[in-house]
């Protein structure tokens, strides 16, 4: 059964990436410019990475569904046009990582 | 009756001598001489086959040696006729 979920995750990630690509092309028609952090992408990134690392924290919803959502969000953030979405992803990983370290008890 | 091992030794000696002669013998730059020299080695091998009582193989060897020689000579003379430097 595990493989089915892996397939779903990958597909969702790809769909997210494509969506992210389309979104960013719609938003930025111009050639590449260094821009500020995009809030929407940041939110997706944080949500995605947070869920990926910390889906075990919650006990109400099955982790598969959470992971599916997480991969979609990550894809949305990573799959931007080249050059976009890097900082957002980094921030997302950072926050999710910190939360994971704090909650998982690695430190203590 | 007679010493069988002696025959094997003679056969091997002929084979080795013949192959040496074929490879480094006098005048082997000429392919004709080289081809004739292979005959010595083949007689050595014939002797070994004879001693090992593989007479059918011996017969076949004698028959094929001639034909192989024929083929080689054909190749040599043809190439010389063409004037090929191989």
């Amino acid at each position: 059964m595990e493989e089915l979920y892996i397939m779903i995750y990958i597909i969702v990630f790809i769909v997210g990436s494509i969506a992210g690509l389309l979104l960013s092309y719609k938003k930025h028609m111009e050639p590449y410019i260094i821009s500020e952090i995009d809030v929407l992408t940041l939110v997706f990134s944080i949500v995605g990475w947070f869920l990926l690392f910390n889906h075990g924290l919650n006990h109400f919803i099955s982790s598969e569904i959470l992971l599916t959502i997480a991969f979609f969000c990550i894809g949305l953030a990573i799959g931007r046009r080249p050059g976009y979405g890097r900082k957002e992803t980094a921030i997302g990983i950072l926050i999710a990582g910190i939360v994971w370290i704090l909650t998982s008890g690695v430190l203590f | 009756m007679f010493n069988l091992a002696l025959w094997v030794y003679v056969g091997l000696a002929l084979a080795i001598f013949g192959s040496l002669a074929t490879v480094w013998g006098p005048g082997v730059k000429d392919p004709v001489i080289r081809t004739i020299n292979t005959e010595v080695a083949s007689v050595g091998v014939s002797l070994i086959l004879l001693t090992y009582n593989s007479t059918l193989a011996l017969l076949t060897l004698i028959a094929t040696t001639i034909i192989v020689t024929l083929i080689l000579f054909r190749a040599i003379s043809r190439l010389e006729e063409i004037g090929a430097d191989v």
């Binding site: - | 080795i16 081809t35 193989a57």
Partner: protein
């Protein structure tokens, strides 16, 4: 008596001579191979591969069983066939290389040897008859030798191409004969005698006709004016 005809183990002579014979074979092979490694001209290498083939015979024969002889027999004929094919490639390569200078027709030969007019018919007949009696690889080789000498000595220039095709067809059919014989051995074991003859004659015809082909190739090489 019958039980002791075939020994249980390999006789002491073979096992005591094995090391010697194997080493001898390896030495011959080594000499031949080093000769090839040092040789630069192509035709010379072709001649030297003959020595390597002889070394192979020694190594195989050294085992000293009926099986090893059965392995030698066809190996010999195969070696012959390969030399044939490769020398042909060499000739055709050189001809194509020197396309401008070459003639297809080999130089006609002016030979007047007494032996070439009287002996061959008899020898060839003898060899072919004996080869037919022997059958199999050996018989094929012997009878083929007879055909070769016959064709060589006779003034048969200008054999039509049909003959070559015919020879090919004979050998193809005999090959099929042999295959059928082989299948009979396992499908209908009660007809083993029939299959034995199919196999033996098929092989004989095949080898003999193929070697006879060499004679046809040679006839223009040594065909007289």
């Amino acid at each position: 008596m019958v039980a002791s005809i075939v020994p249980q183990f390999v006789p002491a002579f073979y096992s005591s001579m094995y090391t010697t014979a194997l080493y001898g074979g390896l030495i011959v092979a080594f000499i031949g191979l080093i000769g090839i490694a040092m040789e630069k001209r192509d035709i010379q290498v072709l001649i030297l591969t003959d020595i390597v083939g002889l070394a192979m015979l020694i190594v195989v024969a050294a085992v000293g069983t009926d099986l090893s002889e059965a392995l030698i027999l066809p190996g010999l004929v195969v070696e012959l066939a390969e030399i044939m094919a490769i020398s042909e490639i060499l000739i055709s390569r050189e001809m194509r290389k020197k396309d401008v200078h070459t003639s297809f027709a080999p130089m006609p030969l002016n030979i007047d040897m007494e032996i070439m007019t009287t002996a061959p018919n008899f020898i060839a007949l003898l060899l072919i008859g004996y080869g037919v009696f022997l059958s199999g690889f050996t018989g094929g080789a012997v009878a083929g030798g007879g055909i070769v000498i016959y064709v060589l000595s006779r003034k048969v220039r200008g054999l039509p191409i049909v003959v070559l095709d015919g020879v090919g067809a004979i050998s193809g059919i005999s090959w099929c004969l042999w295959i059928i014989g082989f299948l009979f051995f396992f499908i209908l074991p009660q007809y083993w005698l029939l299959s034995l003859f199919l196999a033996a004659l098929g092989l004989l015809l095949k080898v003999a006709s193929k070697i006879g082909l060499i004679g046809i190739l040679m006839r223009e090489e040594y065909g007289r004016k």
